[in-house]
Amino acid sequence: MLERDFASVLHAAARGDENAFARLYRDAHPPLVRYLRVLAGQGAEDVAAEVWLEVARRLARFRGDEREFRGWLFTLARRRVIDQRRYADRHPVRLTDDAEELDRAAADDTAAAALDNMSTEAVLGLIATLPAFQAEVIVLRVIAGLDVGQVVRITGRRPGAVRMAGLRGLRRLAARLSAEAETRKGVTG
């Protein structure tokens, strides 16, 4: 979080300063992509790029502090995901036979990065197995750092529903972790 510097950085970015925009991006992009990985899966990077273009267009008109900026950013991302799902429903993907081409690794994929990503990816994958609303609440609260009120504004649900979804999601995650631990213990023992 930029905290004290946020106002000046936002003001500079709104006037077209590239460095200020890069600071906003470095600060807010990682939680955004993680949120989108839970919601949109493999298309997270594409959706995030569209969201940042939208932010660049509307940045001059944004008024608010850093928390409101994050709320605005994740609201844009959520709407993009919903649009993408509607588009996918109208245009079903036709699978090709060339599976090797689809499974091709990225060019910048190194062993260290893959190992590092594995843990984050594994956690995000585990969260993504939760029911959609529970996973969304956990990501918005834990990764994006938003409070209940902001999650309520983004999702349009009631505060009680948001709190209950977070609690149930955590309990479910704890249960799965315990199950994995028991399984691992059984395998090693």
Partner: protein
């Protein structure tokens, strides 16, 4: 299967249920807010806290690999006028048009009002003088005659029984007969104006000039004498009653006018 059957390893779901029951709302709220769990918490909760820490840990370089592309997109978007800016301009256009129209209406109103005031002689003296020089409006000292009263009507300062001809009368109740249609037998008497009014000016244009005036034979203005005045029927018809003027106050007519010359009794 009963509860005593089998070991806990054979029933892996039992401790999991116990962990789930221990995660109360307050602990869950602490985990979601990033505060973690106390050190003496159950193992499942500590594992959950560790997992959430991993999910929220600082980003690696690979997650920020797209910063250059994002900045390039930002430069592209901010250098071209966006749709929102276009909309804002479109919204501002009618406002500017309305403002221009209002300004024009105000300017036209000011010009009309100023013109009326200038030609009515109601402007301050210096301004009136300037307008007089520039546009030919009446001079500052000039009193403008009201068009409804006519250029040959009564002077508003005079009382009943006075004809306005630019020359004041000699006394009350006397008619002014300056139209030089006096009788040729009349002796010339020079009666200077008692109180000349500087603001009075002879009318510039007369509709009916009347018979030719003798060059130097002003008519007598002695009390009690009869005098003739030349008044055309048209000018009489144009003559209006002044405010407060009654029929008795008007000049008595001894005979109906026939040829524009009529005797007037001066009481």
């Amino acid at each position: 299967m009963r509860a005593g059957d089998g070991s806990p390893d054979e029933m892996p779901h039992v401790p999991r249920l116990g962990d789930r029951q221990h995660l109360d709302a307050a602990t869950a709220e602490g985990l979601l807010a990033g505060r973690g769990v106390p050190g003496d918490s159950p193992t499942g909760q500590q594992a959950l806290a560790r997992m959430l820490e991993i999910a929220a840990r600082p980003p690696g370089d690979e997650e920020l690999a797209g910063v250059a592309a994002a900045v390039a997109g930002f430069v592209l978007v901010s250098s071209t006028p966006s749709s929102t800016q276009t909309e804002a301009r479109r919204e501002a256009r009618p406002r500017a048009r309305r403002l221009t129209r209002l300004t024009l209406v105000c300017a036209a109103g000011a010009v009309a009002l100023g013109g009326s005031a200038a030609f009515a002689g109601a402007l301050p003296a210096r301004l009136q003088e300037m307008v007089h020089v520039m546009f030919g409006a009446p001079a500052p000292g000039h009193e403008v005659s009201h068009p409804a009263r006519g250029s040959q009507g009564r002077h508003p300062a005079k009382g009943p029984g006075y004809l306005q001809q630019g020359v004041p009368v000699g006394g009350p109740g006397h008619d002014q007969t300056t139209a030089a249609a006096a009788s040729p037998t009349a002796t010339p008497t020079t009666t200077p104006p008692a109180t000349p009014t500087p603001t009075l000016k002879p009318p510039k244009r007369r509709r009916y000039p009347g018979p030719p005036r003798p060059t130097a034979s002003p008519e007598p203005t002695m009390p009690g004498c009869l005098a003739t005045t030349t008044t055309s029927p048209r000018s009489r018809s144009l003559r209006r009653k002044a405010p407060g003027e009654s029929a008795a106050g008007r000049r008595p007519q001894l005979s109906p006018p026939t040829s524009g010359r009529r005797p007037v009794a001066l009481a």
